[in-house]
C-alpha cells in the first residue's frame, strides 16, 4: 500500500488526507455521519472490479449505507437501468458548488451534508473538486472510496490493487448491514 498521490505530480497539498488503512474504519465513519451523501462519477460504468462493474458495487454500497446518491455526468440512467434510483443527478461541478455553500440544505432539504463520499470520477477532476471542498467547505468531511490516494480529501484509501479495492468495498457493505 502506498499513500502517494495516484497521479505522480499531484503533490501540492500541505494538508493531506488521512489514510484509511482498514475498510472497517471507513464503515464506522460512514455510520457515524448524520447526513452523508455519495457522489458517483462517470467511471462507475468504465471500471470493472473482479467480475462486476464498479456501479454494481456502488448500488450495494448505497443500499447498505443508505447514503443518498448524487449521480454526475450522464450516469443516472445507468443506475436506473439497474433498478436503483439516485436521490439526485447533477454535474460534478454543480454538486461541488453546492457543497461549498453552507446555506445549502442538502439534496433532500434535510440539512447540509456532513460527509461527502466521492468515487468514480476522472482522478484529476475528483482531485480538484476535493481541493475546492478542502479550502471552501471547512466543516465538511470528505472521503473517497476509490482505489487511488487523493491527498485533498479528508480521508482516502491508499493506492490499491483492484482486488483489494473490491474486497474493501465488500467489507464496508457488510459492516453497513448489506449483503
Amino acid at each position: 500500500m502506498s499513500c502517494e498521490p495516484w497521479q505522480c505530480a499531484e503533490v501540492a497539498a500541505t494538508k493531506k488526507a488521512h489514510v484509511i488503512t482498514k475498510p472497517e474504519v471507513a464503515a464506522a465513519m460512514i455510520k457515524k455521519a448524520a447526513r452523508p451523501i455519495l457522489v458517483v462519477g462517470s467511471n462507475a460504468t468504465r471500471r470493472t472490479l473482479k467480475d462486476k462493474l464498479l456501479i454494481e458495487y456502488l448500488i450495494d454500497f448505497a443500499r447498505a449505507s443508505k447514503a443518498p446518491v448524487v449521480a454526475t455526468a450522464h450516469i443516472v440512467g445507468e443506475f436506473l437501468k439497474r433498478g436503483y434510483e439516485p436521490a439526485e443527478f447533477m454535474s460534478a461541478m454543480d454538486i461541488g458548488n453546492r457543497l461549498v455553500d453552507p446555506e445549502w440544505q442538502g439534496i433532500n432539504d434535510k440539512g447540509h451534508p456532513d460527509l461527502a463520499l466521492f468515487v468514480g470520477m476522472p482522478y484529476y477532476m475528483e482531485s480538484l473538486i476535493l481541493s475546492g471542498l478542502k479550502h471552501f467547505a471547512p466543516d465538511l468531511r470528505t472521503m473517497t472510496i476509490d482505489n487511488m490516494y487523493h491527498p485533498h480529501a479528508s480521508w482516502s484509501f491508499p493506492n490499491l490493487s483492484i482486488n483489494d479495492w473490491a474486497q474493501n468495498l465488500e467489507v464496508i457493505v457488510g459492516k453497513l448491514g448489506g449483503e
Partner: protein, 775 residues
C-alpha cells in the same frame, strides 16, 4: 505627406515629411457608445453583474503561492499568505495570469503579422475580409475600441491599445496589487475582451493581404491526415500558429516551380493558415500529433514558428536527423541567429549536420533555406524514423517492471501497464487501443524507470491507423457574411434556430477526437449552426459517416441551421464572437461603436450560443473563453478543463438569482436559469450534449423557439441520461412553450412541481435599457 519646399514666416523648409499617427474617421456616422477603448475598470459594473449571477467556484490546483520571495505561503482553507492574499484571490489571480498570457500571445502574434504586412504592403493597404459581403469588417474591434479600421495602418493603433491594456492587466497580478477575487475575475474578463481584439486584428490583416478565403462558405476542402502526405517527396513540416514563415516557404517553392516536387504540411493552427494561403498544403493534424509525425520520420525539415510548439522538438527532430529552423523571435530554441548569413551557407551547415538547427528571423530567407535543405537532405535521411519494429516492442515490453509509473504520469490515466504486459505476451491489441486516446504528451516515457519509449510503442502499434488517416477539412473561411447574419438573425434571436455551437480549442481530449466529431454531427443534424476552429476543427473532420464523407462534405459550410463551418485558426475565433455581435448590429440594428455593455447584454439574453472547448489546454484557450464570458456566452470545457481551477456557475435552485428587467415596463421578471452557467466542466460526451442543448435557452426565446429548444433538450436528455430532465418547470414560461408532442407528459410534470405561468419579457440586465421606467 512630403513637401519639397515650404516658405513660412518662421523660415524655409525643404524636403519636409509629416507623418500623422492617428486619423479621426469622420465618415463613420454611427454615434460613439459609452465605452470606447475601455480601461481596466470601465466595464467593471457589467462584469460584476455576470459574476454575481455566475459566482466563481474555485478548485485550487495547489495550496501554495510561490510567486514572491516571502513564499512559499500555505493558503490552505482560509490561511492568508505573507502578503495577505487568500486562496480565493490567489486562484482568481492565476486565472487572470492565464488570460493575460493568452491575450498577450494572440496580441503579440497580431503585432508580428501586422508589422510584417505593413512593411510588405504599406500602412495604407486596404482591409478586405469579404468584399461587399462583409461591411462590418471588424465587429469586435468596433465594439471594444470604437474604431472602424480601414487600412493595415489602422490596426497598428488598435494593437497599441491592446498592448497597453495587457501591460496594466499583468501589473495587476503583481504582489500587493489587486486583492479581491471578483476584481481579479473582472480583469480576467477584460483580458478576454482584449484577446478578442488581438485575434481579430491578426486574422483580418492576414485575410486582407494574403489571399485567404474571404468569408467563403465554400472555401476549398483541403487534405488532412498523415496518410495524405506523399512521403516520396521532400517534406517540410511547419508547427505553430504564425503563418508568416510558411508564406516565405510557399512563395519560394512556387517561384522555384517546385509545387509538384515537395510537400508542405502543418500541425496545429499554422496548418490551417497554410491551407488558407495555399490549398495544396496539407494538414497533418492537431497539436498532440507532433511526436508521432516526427518520430515516424516523415518530416525532412521542421520549421517552428510560435505557440503550442513542443519545447523538446529540436531534440526529437535531431533523433530523426531532421534539421530545425526556428523562425520566431518568441521561440529561438537556443539556436544561433543566422538571419544575416547567406542562405547557401546556412543550407550547407544544416544538410551536413554541422548544426542541428538555426534561427532565421527573415521569412523570405526561411523559405529559401527550408526548401533547399528539404531537397538536399531528403535523399540523405531517407525518412529516417525512430519507431521500433513490432518484434522489438514485444521484446522490450518484457523488461517492463509493471511499476505503474507510466499510468500514474499519464494525464489520461491510460492503462499502459496492462498493455505492456499483453505486448510482452505477443498481444498488441491493447496498445493499439491506446493510439486513439493517447494525447501524445510523452509523460509516460519520462516516468519509465527502464527507459521504455512508451509513446513510440503506442504510435507504432497504431501505425496502420495513422498511415490510413486521409480526410478532408474545410480551409478556414474567415468571417461570417453580413447577408448570412441577416438570414439567420431572426430565427436565432427568436429561438427557431435552436442554437449556435462553437466547437473550438485544443486537443487535450479525455477519450480521443471522435467525441468532437460525434458532438458536431449530433447538433448539425439537429440544425444548430456548428462553428469550428483550431485543433477541434481538425478533429471534427477526422472521421467519416457511413457514406465515407467527413463532416465538411456532409454538411454545408454556411452560417445556417445545419451548417458546419470552419472559421480557421485560433485567431479566427474572433469571427465567432464577431458573428454574435453582428446579430446585434445587423439584425437588431444596435449601435456597436464603443457600446460593449449593451451589446453583451443583448447577446447574453438573446443569442443562444454556446462554446465547447472539449480539449482546451492552453492559456490562449483561457483567454478565448474569457472573451466569451464577458459577452455573456457560456463556455463548456471537457474534464481536463477543470484544471483551469475556476468555474463560473449559476444556481438553478436559487430562484432569486434569475430575475431580469423587462425593458418594456421596468418590471422584474424571473426568467429561470437561462443560461444556467457561464463556465462549466462536463465529464462526458453525453453530458456535454445535454448541457449544450440546455445552455442555448435564452430569456428572449419566443414560444415557438423555446418549444424547439426544449424538445432538443428533452430528447437528448431522455436518450443520453435515460430519464426526463428534472428542471423543465424552470424553463416553461407558458404552456405554449411546451413542445406539442410532449404536452401530456410535461403537463403532469409541471403540475407536480406547482408550476405557474409567467410572462416573456424584453430581457435586460441594464436599468438604462428600460424604455419606460416603473413609477
Amino acid at each position: 505627406m512630403k513637401i519639397d519646399e515650404l516658405k513660412t514666416d518662421v523660415g524655409l523648409f525643404k524636403n519636409l515629411e509629416l507623418s500623422i499617427g492617428k486619423v479621426v474617421d469622420d465618415s463613420w456616422t454611427e454615434p460613439m457608445g459609452p465605452s470606447p477603448m475601455p480601461g481596466l475598470t470601465t466595464l467593471r459594473d457589467w462584469d460584476m453583474k455576470l459574476l454575481n449571477k455566475y459566482k466563481p467556484f474555485y478548485m485550487p490546483d495547489c495550496d501554495l503561492c510561490c510567486l514572491c520571495t516571502y513564499g512559499k505561503c500555505d493558503l490552505t482553507a482560509g490561511k492568508r499568505g505573507a502578503c495577505g492574499i487568500d486562496i480565493g484571490a490567489q486562484s482568481s489571480r492565476i486565472v487572470l495570469l492565464a488570460c493575460s498570457i493568452g491575450a498577450a500571445t494572440h496580441t503579440g502574434h497580431a503585432r508580428h503579422v501586422v508589422d510584417y504586412l505593413i512593411e510588405k504592403y504599406g500602412r495604407r493597404y486596404p482591409l478586405d475580409v469579404g468584399g461587399l459581403n462583409v461591411k462590418v469588417e471588424a465587429p469586435v474591434t468596433r465594439l471594444v475600441t470604437g474604431i472602424r479600421p480601414e487600412t493595415l495602418g489602422d490596426l497598428d493603433e488598435i494593437l497599441e491599445y491592446c498592448e497597453e491594456q495587457i501591460t496594466h492587466l499583468l501589473s495587476a497580478a503583481h504582489t500587493g496589487q489587486e486583492s479581491n477575487n471578483l476584481d481579479f475575475e473582472s480583469k480576467a474578463f477584460h483580458a478576454g475582451r482584449i484577446d478578442q481584439v488581438g485575434m481579430e486584428v491578426a486574422d483580418i490583416a492576414q485575410i486582407s493581404t494574403l489571399g485567404f478565403p474571404k468569408a467563403d462558405p465554400e472555401a476549398t476542402l483541403v487534405q488532412m491526415g498523415i496518410g495524405t502526405v506523399d512521403t516520396s517527396k521532400p517534406v517540410i513540416m511547419c508547427i505553430g500558429h504564425n503563418v508568416v514563415p510558411s508564406v516565405g516557404i510557399i512563395d519560394y517553392m512556387r517561384d522555384s516551380k517546385l509545387e509538384d516536387k515537395m510537400e508542405i504540411v502543418g500541425l496545429c493552427c499554422t496548418a490551417f493558415d497554410n491551407t488558407r494561403y495555399y490549398d495544396r498544403a496539407k494538414i497533418v493534424g492537431p497539436i498532440s500529433w507532433q511526436l508521432r509525425f516526427i518520430r515516424g520520420g516523415y518530416a525532412d525539415v521542421v520549421v517552428l514558428d510560435e505557440q503550442c510548439v513542443r519545447t523538446d522538438i529540436s531534440d526529437e527532430a535531431q533523433r530523426v536527423k531532421a534539421p530545425v529552423i526556428a523562425a520566431s523571435e518568441k521561440n529561438c530554441v537556443g539556436f544561433k541567429n543566422r538571419t544575416s548569413d547567406p542562405a547557401d551557407e546556412i543550407v550547407a551547415d544544416l544538410v551536413s549536420g554541422k548544426v542541428a538547427g538555426v534561427l532565421i528571423l527573415d521569412p523570405e530567407k526561411v523559405g529559401e533555406v527550408a526548401v533547399k535543405v528539404a531537397q538536399k537532405i531528403a535523399p540523405i535521411r531517407k525518412k529516417h524514423k525512430i519507431l521500433p519494429e513490432i518484434e522489438e516492442i514485444k521484446a522490450l515490453a518484457k523488461t517492463c517492471r509493471q511499476c505503474d509509473l507510466c499510468q500514474r504520469s499519464c494525464p489520461q490515466d491510460l492503462e499502459i501497464p496492462s498493455a505492456m504486459k499483453a505486448a510482452a505476451e505477443g498481444n498488441l491489441a491493447p496498445l493499439i487501443d491506446l493510439y486513439e486516446v493517447c494525447i501524445g504528451c510523452g509523460r509516460c516515457e519520462e516516468a519509465c524507470p527502464v527507459g521504455l519509449q512508451v509513446h513510440s510503442f503506442i504510435v507504432k502499434a497504431g501505425e496502420k491507423f495513422m498511415t490510413e488517416e486521409k480526410n478532408l477539412c474545410r480551409a478556414g473561411r474567415g468571417a461570417i457574411q453580413d447577408i448570412e447574419i441577416r438570414n439567420v438573425g431572426s430565427p436565432i434571436v427568436l429561438g427557431e434556430i435552436p442554437g449556435i455551437l462553437a466547437v473550438v480549442g485544443c486537443s487535450n481530449y479525455p477519450r480521443g477526437g471522435k467525441d468532437v466529431y460525434d458532438i458536431c454531427r449530433e447538433f448539425a443534424n439537429r440544425r444548430f449552426i456548428v462553428v469550428t476552429s483550431g485543433c477541434s476543427a481538425m478533429s471534427a473532420g477526422s472521421y467519416k459517416n457511413t457514406e465515407g464523407k467527413t463532416l465538411y462534405e456532409e454538411f454545408p459550410g454556411g452560417f445556417e441551421g445545419g451548417g458546419v463551418l470552419n472559421v480557421g485558426s485560433c485567431v479566427a475565433n474572433s469571427h465567432i464572437a464577431g458573428a454574435a455581435i453582428k446579430v446585434a448590429s445587423i439584425f437588431a440594428k444596435r449601435n456597436l461603436r464603443g457600446n460593449y455593455e449593451e451589446i453583451a447584454d443583448y447577446i447574453h439574453n438573446r443569442v443562444g450560443a454556446v462554446g465547447l472547448a472539449w480539449g482546451a489546454y492552453s492559456q490562449k484557450a483561457a483567454s478565448i473563453a474569457s472573451g466569451f464570458w464577458s459577452l455573456g456566452v457560456p463556455v463548456l470545457v471537457g474534464p481536463h478543463g477543470s484544471k483551469y481551477r475556476r468555474m463560473l456557475l449559476g444556481r438553478a435552485d436559487k430562484r432569486e438569482n434569475w430575475d431580469v428587467l423587462d425593458a418594456r415596463t421596468g418590471d422584474k421578471v424571473n426568467v429561470g436559469p437561462a443560461p444556467e452557467h457561464l463556465f462549466q466542466t462536463v465529464e462526458t460526451k453525453e453530458e456535454a450534449m445535454v448541457s449544450i442543448a440546455k445552455l442555448c435557452i435564452r430569456p428572449n426565446d419566443t414560444w415557438k423557439g423555446r418549444s424547439i429548444k426544449l424538445s432538443h433538450y428533452v430528447d437528448l436528455h431522455k436518450r443520453l441520461y435515460g430519464t426526463m430532465p428534472k428542471d423543465l418547470h424552470l424553463f416553461v414560461r407558458t404552456m405554449a412553450d411546451v413542445p406539442i408532442t410532449m404536452k401530456d407528459e410535461l403537463t403532469k410534470i409541471l403540475e407536480a412541481k406547482g408550476w405557474k405561468e409567467t410572462v416573456v419579457p424584453d430581457p435586460t440586465l441594464l436599468p438604462r435599457m428600460v424604455r419606460k421606467a416603473k413609477e
